[in-house]
Amino acid sequence: MKLHIVIVEPDETRARLVIDSLQPLGHQVTVIGEPAGLARRVRDIAPDIVLIDMANPSRDMLEEMTLASGPMDRPVAFFVDRTDTELTRRAIEAGVSAYVIDGLQPDRVAAVMDAAIARFQLFQRMRLELETTRRALEERKLIDRAKGILMKKRGISEEDAYALMRKTAMDQKRKVVDVASALVTAAGLLS
């Protein structure tokens, strides 16, 4: 049996990652990117499973589904598998929250959760790497600007400018980038 899975995810890269992991399992996947009218749209689609980032502020909008009690409504539960607390813990640590229609076979849910957790972890790693790269790049730029200021003001070489900043940083027990940042700020104020 094919499951219909909704992913609530504004970030296209992550949505794509999760889709790519679930479609090969033979499931139908729909992505909702916008928070407006979320609960109603999910209700209209009537999926078997809804996946949403725990950090997504719109998550509370889905909480209503766990309370739907009309005769036509299918009961929904926040995914908390009491038999497999390890899986739940992994899901929470990876930041995946899931809402699952009551009565789905636990192993089928577990397979979906496993795939989603793996993709969320992958995305977290990617985001972390991206962030590290971005910060390194920014620090590089800052240090270059500070070097430029020193070279111009003191008529020294690039190498000497860097050595001066490094010595200052060591003397003051600070990072080179912090010294560079202070220098750039001060130069901005004095110019």
Partner: protein, 388 residues
Amino acid sequence: MSASVLRVGFVPLLDMAPLAIAHELGFARAEGLNLELRAAPSWSSLRDMLLWGQIDAAHMLAPLPVAMALGLGGAVAQVDILQNLSLNGVVVAVSLGLADAMRARGHGFGFDDARTTAADLARVAQGVLRIGVPFPFSTQAALVGRWLRETPLRYELCTVPPPRMADALGKGEIDAYCVGEPWGSMAVETGAGALVLPGKSIWAAAPEKVLAARHDWIEAHPDLTRALMRAVWKAGKWMDDPDNRETACALLGRAEYVNAPSELLDRILRGEMIVSPRGELRHTPQIIRFHQDAASFPWRSQAAWFAADLAQRHDLPVGPAIDAAQAIARTDLYRENLRDLGADLPGASAKLEGAISAPMTVASERGTMILPPDRFFDGHIFDSAACV
């Protein structure tokens, strides 16, 4: 001795103030605690973080631990209420369209009369009104239910995250909303709507947020629990001193806490409420209370009131619901841990909710104390003992 690290979660709202103040002003440190405050993106995430041990304690909507005690909404552990963090502090906003229609029919935006406001709103509302609340288990949902029960108005509650509320109103996703400050006043600030009522006009002493922790964690860590309760209680006391207001607002406005303009928070704490984009000012003192007159005492009857409300809305038997709720209101710990600080400790742990219409002297452990009004706008009086 190094301080014990305690992870405490919150949702960015003015009423998380006692936690930020306990941390920033050194009340936690004085109790040997190092608070690690973590903002949660939503109430459901905060609940799950607490249930799964990613945080030790949390700022929570008062009815949320009660709902968990009733088995509503995927609870896996018992969560206890240690003390109230705040009373009231919510407002009701309506869209500009509704505000204009109400004004055209003579509504004066007095910002104090729940009955007239409900009638005036019912007169102009068309179809089913969509009213935003922060969570299905919230004081806001309970207050709106109480407020509109006698009107012919048809409405549905829609959950919207507090910081998104004004935006949702402006975009027409909802027609009105009830939320904790400053996200109510944000409707006026952004020109999305007008304020029609403070929550205290519906229920004069509605518990809004509580300090909550897992029952098994409390049992395993009596000393940390005591230290946390004392730090937070002292912070609440500090918050109630008008001389500290400006400092408090400067701290709370920061991005890691409420992330809102300090001037706006200051105006709200002063009770200078601007209720419409026309700039109409309504003086509303004590729109939110943290400490005075035993505001932080976690009355068992308050938990019981929420239990009765939730039981009625979700078709559960009322008696057992009230029993379950009263068991999580830890008046025992409040007395034990705050007695020597001089906290007002009432003689009884439950009261008739809604029965006090003027400040009343009641028995306390040290003699007498004053209980401020706790009336409902419609004269409703709730006796938890009569329901079980």
